[in-house]
Symmetry: C2
Subunit: 404 residues, 2 copies
């Protein structure tokens, strides 16, 4: 017997979330006494975990509000929940097993019900805790290569693509990326950056004061604003990945839209570099460096294989095109990695890899190394194509700060 | 007293068109005895001219069917009429005086009522008849620079742009361009090309057989499929321009969508080259060469001026970006000019400039010169930036065929 009506939008309380799950999902019996907890710790949304203690059956409900959880300043349309549901359905077709299964979508409540992954950990946290996830690099390379190639020009039918471009136009979430990734780290006009005081002089000289860098960033921004090459995840970092040693699940695709095909790979590569620098700053070893090399090389290998077997448009089968296009994608990946390294170090949204470095001097060195690496990846992006290219630049930046 | 109902879609007869105009437009008095003629000679649509003999008031109605007029093979959504109406309204704001005024739009009949331009001639025909249109180059450079800059990243608000991108997604008309401009001229897989028998060996060697050319064309095609830089006209040639010596009006923007900002300028430049080659082949002089030089140089001048005063996003004000971006646009313009020269010479849709050359040998030479120029503009596109650059390549191609 339902005691709630769900016919108008509101943010749910845990008991309401349990009631929604009991009445809407076949997972639970009509009389089940469900337990519900709000477990969200992200920047934008509310996450309810619903468990039936009798059967151990469980589910996660993700609900969007109309402002970001992190700050009322970010107005973000709850339509992102529709986008997330729609792309999760598509990912379940393209890369089954690498994303949570989806059970239901409620367009009134802006709520998606999906597989409970509580037996996984977030990759960023897993690495910080010293964990090892031997499948992650291959799985995440596979995820990127497969989703990107499948939605690229020459593979996807042009009319199907245009319809998808329309469905995935994502103004609010793109605005966040345009501002936080492509603009503010290089020009503190809005004074929202959040920088260690001791890092400020470095940032003022090396980011705000470097006109050559800002020119390259402007070119990358133009590509982001006008480069719908493939349906990208849009927020593909180590906080958007659930792992177990034997399982990898990509979550949180609410930033998805048609954008530069290299963007996702670059963001993830940058976050592996954060994990590497964090471990070095803490005097620990971890697998993030190996992950980075393997991620890039495996991506290139799988991209080339998938491209060769997937291209249907004869225009794009001309000799030389596959290599030219893939290298453009890799250049964008390197540029995007550089942007992510800069923005997570000086912008409004930091990463725990850096902020958790207890020793201030060591944190400062790791942050300077991030920025040095970021700049190198942006400037050299036309030549950064292999795992070794990334790792060489990463070690050089770490070395200059005494973190090698 | 209306004898027709206009509540369901159908192609109108001339008397029905007159009745629609009399009852829907304030231009005509309720009792007016209007005269209606179908005057369309384009590839896609039906055009009615409605005149009140008593007052001389007149109007043009443009109605879209659901197949192209040129051939049932091209299924084209009548939604293009909505797109044409919507962009004409926008053009009337951006470049008033350079497009027909718009009086009404009927979404049921897919019909737009607009200014009657019967006192103008189509620029292509005007030149073939030896006319001179001294305003045309400046007006058409102004039209292109103003409409393109106003809808470019850095000038237009990103969210406004995304909404417009969505409104102007134009699958059917883009498919025509993708097939006829970017694909078929370089690869006769669908056997729709229409080539003078004597030209065939040249086409087989120089277009179908040139893998280097086809690689460059594939790169341009990728840019067209994934380069929403600005709201482009999409069919900007001398058949889409009405002129008098003292007036220029751009018509037929039904191919409009967000695409590469250089596309329009290139298409128009190519059509000026056709007029030049046509005159040379006929032993006549005309102003198309001067037009071409003036069009390009004036466009660059106006683009630079408008860009400098219009850019609002600080990211794009960094030193070096304006020049880098403009030169990218000019490279795309050169590439697009090259594509247009090839496709109008060998593809399904020819231009009267070439087909009206009576002497077969001279026509053949003009067509070979078109293809030579087209290839040069594609290969050299990174260096073609001034009116003189275009004219030098045009004279060289003409010279190699004895048409200088």
């Amino acid at each position: 017997m339902s005691s709630y009506a769900f016919d108008t939008y509101r943010l749910l309380t845990p008991p309401e979330a349990a009631e929604w799950a009991r009445t809407r999902l076949s997972l639970f019996s009509p009389g089940a006494a469900l337990e519900a907890t709000e477990i969200g710790d992200g920047n934008l949304n509310y996450i309810f975990r619903i468990v039936d203690p009798a059967t151990k059956a469980s589910v996660v409900l993700k609900q969007s509000g109309d402002t970001a959880r992190i700050s009322d300043e970010f107005k973000v349309s709850p339509d992102r929940n529709r986008i997330e549901h729609q792309i999760l359905v598509r990912y379940n077709e393209l890369v089954p097993g690498l994303v949570p299964r989806v059970y239901a979508f409620d367009p009134v409540l802006n709520l998606t019900a999906m597989e409970d992954l509580s037996d996984h950990v977030i990759l960023r946290q897993g690495w910080l805790a010293g964990g090892s996830f031997p499948r992650a690099a291959d799985d995440l390379a596979e995820f990127a290569a497969r989703t990107l190639v499948a939605t690229s020009d020459g593979v996807i039918d042009p009319k199907v693509k245009k319809a998808l471009v329309r469905d995935f136009i994502n103004p609010d979430l793109c605005e966040i990326t345009e501002d936080l990734v492509f603009t503010e780290p290089f020009d503190d006009l809005r004074s929202r950056n959040d920088i260690l005081p001791a890092l400020k002089p470095f940032v003022e000289k090396e980011l705000y004061g470097d006109q050559r860098l800002r020119l390259e960033v402007a070119k990358l921004k133009a590509g982001f604003l006008s480069g719908p090459q493939a349906l990208i995840h849009g927020d593909y970092h180590t906080g958007s990945v659930f792992v177990r040693p034997d399982s990898t699940k990509v979550i949180d695709p609410e930033f998805a839209f048609f954008g530069p095909a290299g963007f996702d790979l670059g963001a993830l590569a940058a976050n592996a570099a954060f994990a590497f620098l964090s471990a070095r700053a803490g005097g620990r070893a971890n697998e993030a460096g190996d992950f980075l090399v393997r991620l890039i090389d495996r991506f290139v290998q799988r991209w080339d294989q998938l491209w060769a077997t997937s291209v249907t448009d004869p225009s794009f089968r001309v000799p030389g095109y596959a290599l030219w296009h893939r290298n453009q994608v890799l250049a964008d990946a390197s540029g995007s990695a550089g942007l992510e390294l800069c923005r997570r170090t000086v912008g409004i949204a930091h990463v725990k890899d850096l902020t958790s470095i207890a020793d201030l001097q060591r944190r400062l060195r790791a942050e300077r190394a991030s920025l040095r690496l970021g700049k190198a990846l942006i400037f050299d992006r036309g030549r950064v194509r292999t795992g070794d290219d990334y790792f060489r630049l990463l070690r050089r930046a770490a070395g200059r700060e005494g973190l090698d």
